[in-house]
């Protein structure tokens, strides 16, 4: 089930058991001394995908990209690109181009020569290179900058030159290491749009590293959340957001309230999870991944919760808890309420800012009831 709206016309080859993946990563492991930067990573990516890698700093995203580009040799595992084993293929023979996190523009060459560098290595003619460079400059909206040196550009302009350079050779696989982090919001959105556009026009397969969840959610066909050298979860943005498989992904992608409980009963609609600790029951849809009686964690997104003022002594019900408002954060388009339950557990509840309010319905230190629908709770498999 894919809950995110699929792009019109986009296939979902990862659901087709017969479809051959374009990029296959099997058991990829990389150590730096004793430190394991990649730990038996398995991943398949299909042709034309826009695949996002998310993860905290140092989780191994760049290392994975560098293995794909052939810049570092993995200690174990295989990389198959279009069915071909890449182990013996040096970086300069791989049909893969990369946009580096530090851009790595050649400081002694002007912008045009930087962009044309890859084509010159192929022995393309001057005319071909000139045309392609002009095309790339137009694509990243840098016309007229061809004669500048990299040190005469702003950070965002450098990023665009690096992107143009990586695209110039029309690679089969394009690796982007945080390509847009140096751009301002408007330019970033325009470039995101442009990237998706390029990807759909050229059919190039993209693997993009990003710290920006929104970017990953809106652009990617699928994404992977990395954690200490492993892939914590792989799926479409909708799958990972709606059905996180662990506390880590639930908290990494978006925010989540994590509640602890015990599977008490299986109902026709789902499961009842008792959490004596907080003195309430949780109803959740679907089979819990753990058997009766086992300890589980339940994730509930803040925007799926409702908050209202409660009377002193109000009773608990299913999926309904009472607490006091400790803090309110104003984000413009929504509010976040921090509600402390009696046992000390804190919940985050976010509510859209529907109308301009002069008097808040819920205020600091108010006694409030927080509730949510059964389908809002997700029992985490681990």
């Amino acid at each position: 089930m894919n809950l995110a709206a699929p792009r019109p016309g986009s296939a979902e080859p990862w659901r087709d058991p017969g479809a051959e993946p374009f990029l296959q990563i099997e058991g990829l492991t990389k150590r730096f001394g004793d430190f394991v930067a990649l730990d038996r990573v398995d991943l398949s990516i299909w042709r034309g995908e826009f695949f996002a890698l998310l993860g905290g700093s140092g989780s191994g995203k760049s290392t994975l990209l560098r293995c794909l580009a052939g810049l570092i040799e993995p200690d174990a595992g295989r990389i198959l690109l279009d069915g071909q084993d890449m182990a013996q293929v040096p970086p300069y023979r791989r049909p893969v181009n990369m946009m580096f996190q530090s851009y790595a523009l050649f400081p002694h060459m002007d912008v045009a020569r930087n962009i044309g560098f890859g084509l010159r290595q192929e022995g393309a003619s001057r005319a071909v290179i000139r045309d392609r460079v002009a095309e790339m400059l137009a694509l990243v909206r840098m016309e007229g900058f061809g004669a500048r040196r990299p040190d005469e550009l702003s950070g965002g302009q450098r990023a665009r030159v690096a992107l143009a350079r990586a695209l110039a050779k029309r690679p089969k696989l394009l690796l982007l290491d945080e390509p847009l982090s140096a751009l301002d919001k408007n330019l970033r959105e325009a470039t995101q749009f442009e990237l998706v556009n390029i990807q759909e026009r050229t059919g190039t397969t993209f693997v993009i590293v990003t710290h920006d969840q929104e970017e990953a959610m809106t652009m990617a066909t699928r994404l992977a959340v990395m954690d200490r050298g492993t892939l914590a979860q792989v799926g479409t943005p909708g799958e990972v957001y709606e059905f996180p498989n662990s506390r880590f992904t639930a908290e990494f992608l978006g925010t989540a309230n994590i509640l602890e409980g015990v599977v008490e009963a299986l109902t026709p609609a789902g499961a009842r999870i008792g959490s004596s600790e907080y003195d309430f029951d949780i109803l959740s849809e679907g089979e819990p991944p753990k058997p009766l009686g086992s300890r589980v964690f339940v994730a509930i997104r803040p925007e799926r919760m409702r908050i209202e003022r409660a009377q002193e002594g109000a009773d608990f019900g299913d999926n309904r808890v009472v607490g006091r408002v400790r803090d309110i954060a104003y984000f413009g388009d929504f509010f976040v309420y921090y509600v402390v339950l009696e046992g000390g557990k804190e919940l985050r509840v976010s509510q859209p800012n529907l109308r301009r309010i002069t008097e808040r319905p819920v205020d600091w230190d108010d006694l409030v009831a927080v509730s949510w629908a059964p389908e809002a709770s997700v029992v985490l498999p681990e």
């Binding site: 970086p91 300069y92 893969v96 181009n97 580096f100 790595a104 890859g118 050779k169």
Partner: protein, 293 residues
């Protein structure tokens, strides 16, 4: 104190140094070049003399004219420039791979390796040259080894040849090449080579298109650091080189110590200095201008 004043103060020290230890001695040498040789101590006539009760400046241009006329001096200059250029080139060829290897070595190895390059400086220069004589002479170690291996039947004439001279100069000046090269190579961003490889450049092409051009300032610095002192080098050609090579260093020595013609020797030295400094200053100025563009 204003920033401009502070800057002036910072500049003052090197300027003072230059004035005391470079400009003043050079002015003295230059003035001797325009004097006339004379018996006595010092062996030249003063420039300012009382003639008919008036203080007159007597400039003697004959020394300079002689340098231009007699091809003996011009040949010595040209030969010295040639020897210095070839030596600098040899240093570059030997030093570049060394500097590159050190710059690419794991970080904890770099300082020890650099120390090894400088290590010979810790023994006396003359001692090291004498050691080379021991190695190169007819009954020396090298000939002994070659004879023992059966590569040659009779000892080779190695010492007192051009070969020995170039070997000695390259050996002695190598650190001056390696250090600036290393400094410029080590600060190159390794990601640039990754990017070049990623864009399809095999290692030799990324060397030619990235590493080499980016190390050009280091090459220029190293070349000048070897070339300039090598032009006036006297000891190494004298001790290791053949008798035929009339280098400017030997000519200077002869004029100064044997002929005691201080004015001529001063003229030789002044012309040598100007011939070196002017092109280099011009080059630097253009080079810096290019960078600033």
């Amino acid at each position: 104190m204003s920033a401009a004043r502070r800057r002036l103060l910072v500049l003052l020290l090197p300027l003072l140094w230059m004035a005391v230890f470079f400009l003043a001695p050079f002015a003295i040498v230059l003035s001797i070049a325009f004097a006339e040789a004379a018996e006595g101590l010092p062996p030249y006539a003063p420039l300012l003399r009382w003639v008919d009760g008036a203080l007159t400046l007597q400039l003697n241009f004959q020394n300079l004219a002689l340098l231009a006329e007699d091809s003996y001096y011009l040949d010595a200059y040209l030969l010295s420039l040639r020897v210095a250029a070839i030596s600098a080139l040899l240093c570059l060829l030997v030093g570049y791979p060394m500097a590159l290897a050190i710059a690419r070595a794991p970080e904890r190895w770099r300082v020890p390796l650099l120390l090894l390059v400088i290590l010979p400086f810790w023994t006396s220069f003359l001692l090291r040259i004498t050691a080379w004589i021991g190695i190169l002479q007819d009954q020396g170690w090298l000939n002994g080894l070659l004879l023992a291996l059966g590569v040659i039947e009779a000892p080779l004439q190695l010492l007192y040849t051009e070969f020995a001279m170039y070997l000695g100069i390259t050996y002695c000046y190598l650190p001056f090449m390696v250090l600036p090269l290393y400094a410029s190579l080590v600060k190159q961003d390794p990601a640039l080579l990754d990017a070049a490889a990623d864009l399809g450049a095999p290692p030799w092409r990324s060397f030619l298109t990235i590493t080499l051009p980016l190390s050009l300032p280091g090459i220029v610095a190293g070349f000048l650091l070897v070339f300039i002192p090598a032009v006036g080098e006297f000891v190494i050609p004298e001790l290791l080189g053949g008798p035929g090579a009339q280098l400017i260093g030997r000519v200077l020595w002869t004029e100064f110590f044997q002929n005691r013609d201080w004015p001529l020797a001063s003229a030789l030295a002044s012309v040598l200095l100007l011939a070196l400094v002017l092109p280099i200053a011009l080059f630097q100025w253009r080079f810096a201008g290019e960078r600033r563009r």
